[in-house]
Symmetry: C2
Amino acid sequence: MRTLTWLPVTEFERVRAGIADPHLRCRAVAAMTRINTLYMVSRAGSGHLGSSFSAADVVSWLLLEELREEDVYFSSKGHDAPGLYAALIGLGRLEEDLLHRLRRLGGLPGHPDVRTPHMPFNTGSLGMGISKAKGLVLGNRLAGRRQRVFVLTGDGELQEGQNYEALAGAVHARMGELTVVVDHNKLQSDTWVADVSDLGDLAARFAGFGWGVLRCDGNDVAALDRTFRERERAHPDRPVVVIADTVKGAGCARFAATSMAPGEWRYRFHSGAPSPADHAAAHEELTAAANAVLAEAGLAPLTGRTASVPDPPGAAGAGTVSLPRVYGEALTALAARDERVVALDADLVLDTGLVPFRDAHPGRFVECGIAEQDMVSMAGGLAARGFLPFVHSFSCFLHARPNEQIYNNASEDRKVVYVGSLAGVLPAAPGHSHQAVRDVSAVGAVPGLVVLEPANPAQTRAAVDYCAAAPQSVYLRLVSVPCAAELLDLPAGPLVTGRGQVVRAGGRVVAIGAGPVVLAELLAAAPALDLTVVNLPWLNRVDPRWLADLAEGADAVVVVDNHLTRGGQADLVARALLEADLPRPPRFLGIGLTELPVCGTANEALEHHGLRSDRLTDTLLARLPGARLVDLGRCGS
Amino acid sequence: MRTLTWLPVTEFERVRAGIADPHLRCRAVAAMTRINTLYMVSRAGSGHLGSSFSAADVVSWLLLEELREEDVYFSSKGHDAPGLYAALIGLGRLEEDLLHRLRRLGGLPGHPDVRTPHMPFNTGSLGMGISKAKGLVLGNRLAGRRQRVFVLTGDGELQEGQNYEALAGAVHARMGELTVVVDHNKLQSDTWVADVSDLGDLAARFAGFGWGVLRCDGNDVAALDRTFRERERAHPDRPVVVIADTVKGAGCARFAATSMAPGEWRYRFHSGAPSPADHAAAHEELTAAANAVLAEAGLAPLTGRTASVPDPPGAAGAGTVSLPRVYGEALTALAARDERVVALDADLVLDTGLVPFRDAHPGRFVECGIAEQDMVSMAGGLAARGFLPFVHSFSCFLHARPNEQIYNNASEDRKVVYVGSLAGVLPAAPGHSHQAVRDVSAVGAVPGLVVLEPANPAQTRAAVDYCAAAPQSVYLRLVSVPCAAELLDLPAGPLVTGRGQVVRAGGRVVAIGAGPVVLAELLAAAPALDLTVVNLPWLNRVDPRWLADLAEGADAVVVVDNHLTRGGQADLVARALLEADLPRPPRFLGIGLTELPVCGTANEALEHHGLRSDRLTDTLLARLPGARLVDLGRCGS
């Protein structure tokens, strides 16, 4: 347990009532918002501090002074959600109780979701905001109504091509209602934007598309005031971008990018909770800063409330082994042996485990920025020159944003390895924009592409070797939550395309799954039901003979997908079983997600979707009445 | 049969040998290339004349004078393939015989493919070229080699966001090796670029991203010569764009955009073969123009060869009813009744059947340009305002380019109707970039999205009503080849989600399929095998009870997919059959594409992929030996 301090709404009310000057009032509210943002993120155990702080002054000014009742505001980047939530709660527009429920089931999602009041769109998938805003404007015009729409974007976000698809149409339609604010804090998730994919002259970019451009210090309330006034006057019938020059982590020296050591490449507070020490120091600093503003206004210091909160919920499994880290080390070693290997990354060098690769093989590491389509097609060009590109992003983005580019590479018979980390329903804290539960189906039909999901470190290392040796392209699906300890010593057979391995010999109910999340739950459920558990790491290929042998003596075959139930391993296995034309086909049951994945802790999400071992047991007992679930007969071993 | 004239390679050799002046020689070759381009497209029955002609001078100059042995050139837009092929054949770099095999199996694909010599990449999917070129440059640098890379893009193509993802990195890496030539003919597939999504100041756009910019008349050989010389001098270590101002259809008054009547919105020669009258007049004009250049050089006039060629192969089925046309009329009528209906288009207003809608409801028609991601997210914004957006493109693009945006809309429970025409393996002439055989799998798992493929006009009209009334979003998969006459009177039952209808009562082998292509082939194969044929228009939903009843008395169930065999209807039905736990489960066979779709005529493609009725019959006889294929027992009726 830890004791954390937060500010109740009553304190926000006292301060707003007690300060007449709008600039001073906004500075006070912004400072207080940062205090509650820190509380929410520390309590949740994850969340985006840096972006929330850089945007805090813009958000506070818009909410307090600029936005009229009928206007719309939303964040396209979505990473600044904790800050936006804290501001809305402070202003009484969201329930105060939600302060304590960031990234929890039924609480405030890790990224904005329309089911939360004042969130017009689901964001967090980058680059969609300007297009969505244009849709609102078109709808308003059709409804004969004029409404100002304000969209906040990140600057790293501007590497996404969709932004530029959106710009021209807004000019064409003379969208004076539309204002885009760029939170130009110069840092994206990993490091400096200029080092990743320089935006160059940002003003010239927007001007080149015909947009009106204004620019100001985005952490200076007075400057924001002047700039938003200027917006209407200067460009009444043109879309306008306000380039707000901000500091990531602004308002707190400890988190501020300006405090980074010379030459330090990594900004440490993009996501994730601060250490207890960082939290304590930052809280003290933020409180002092807020009280200084209050003193300037002649108000008494803040009175916070304390909450004794549980330590942040761990991810599924007690283990601590990260498959992306194991993967990154294996790829680094492979590259030392194989000159063809090149790694491409889309601004997730930390999360994809590529830091060792970048350090060991800087010449063969290509940082593409948040530009997945460009990255995947560049990989095609590298493959055309005889190289073996490994392409990296979160699976939620990698299967979807460059979906057509992946097919195009495949159509050239060019071998590319796509590595999607953060695959599956866990972690559930970031929410559905980041939960890749559709990736297998979205790329599973691509000709010459095999989808492979390793279950533990040994199989991850084997998978890297497989990717290097395989004749075809591979989509490597990597779960990022720690690998449960009981999976570390799974029987490690060779990777043979389409074939799995019995990892627990049991009765005549054969349960098949891939990856650490599913296998951990199946192994936990196995004893009670005497399940025969099979690790089938192949998600779009199955060897019919192997499957027929496995199913021969089975009463039932169950496939559990860490994926939506359509288009995953259950479809694959069911069809192969039926086509195998067995004399005595087993009963079949496929279990997977049947709806949008929920945001919450690992246990909340697995429980909700019926994937936790106890829920799996219940489902099998309920849905396989005929099958005798406890049976000493052995098969498949 | 028709008689068409073409120019043999010997004529190109005579002209190249007979003209010393490079400018004059290039003008002659370009003029002759246009003659053979016309021949190829007329013979093939389809192909892109306008783009081939606008780019002919650029392509001829590059191939004849600018490119060195080690340089690379390719077309990103790919629509100008016939012109590029004609030029390469004229220069002896491709087999002369291929002149007669455009868009035929084993011939020259409708869009560039790496299996054809001198085609480094598969293009035709727009906006990938600059990224691919960057991959080549990176690969070259890793291999310690310097190579100039020239990429031709369209101007409409520059609406695709991927281009802008690509620009920054090229500057960051100081890619002086990279030159992009924009064939700036001011027209995209339907109409004027400026009317669709104005590029504004194109030079400023590229300059805003830090590129070097040069500009010239792209149909003036001398100007091209000057400009390419300037390129190295002016920007030795920067990527450069050469904006080549061209005329679509240049070199032939009849095809030239400059001949369009004042106010005429549609350019008629973007794709498709010219009428016999247009062909004859254009051929005469082109020959006169070429002979004038030859005379200027003191050479004798051209001597062509004639070929008596069959009339262009028709598409599958003898029918002439276009489902997109029927769809467009139905949507137009729906919009008259339902104020919520808005239609969004991505520069395919003709092919998606939307002309009547645009004319009847101009205020509710949104032309988005070639910017599918922007279009889909805008639809989300319109839905957020209570409208019912119908989003349109070719299915090959609609399921893939905005794949993440479709999921994002679904995650908001916003109802959007996605209409993908040109679905399936036919027409096969454009090649795999345009054959949507992966769309069902790529969107089939999206929560709250139903994939529906109507089989004939009546069902298409019913599908439009279903889309309007359905609680969930719909992906409407429309086959564009004419609907076979025998499908016009299929029994027309109501559309009930997940349920199909027996359209031919037969024996105990039940063949299930969706859409006009599959059903026409199944009905043709049915009599010999006494198949019971079922029209199941649902591709990611099946009603288990309905299916169980259907399969009850069946010896075998066969599902034929106009789609890759993974992730289509066969997977759906097989799993549902197995989960139905029937006392006597039928044998099961799924038939679909198992590889990249081939380019060719409809018959060539269906034959190659085993989807033509005779091949289906063979497959059933071979793969269902046990099933007694001719049996008087009746079921399923």
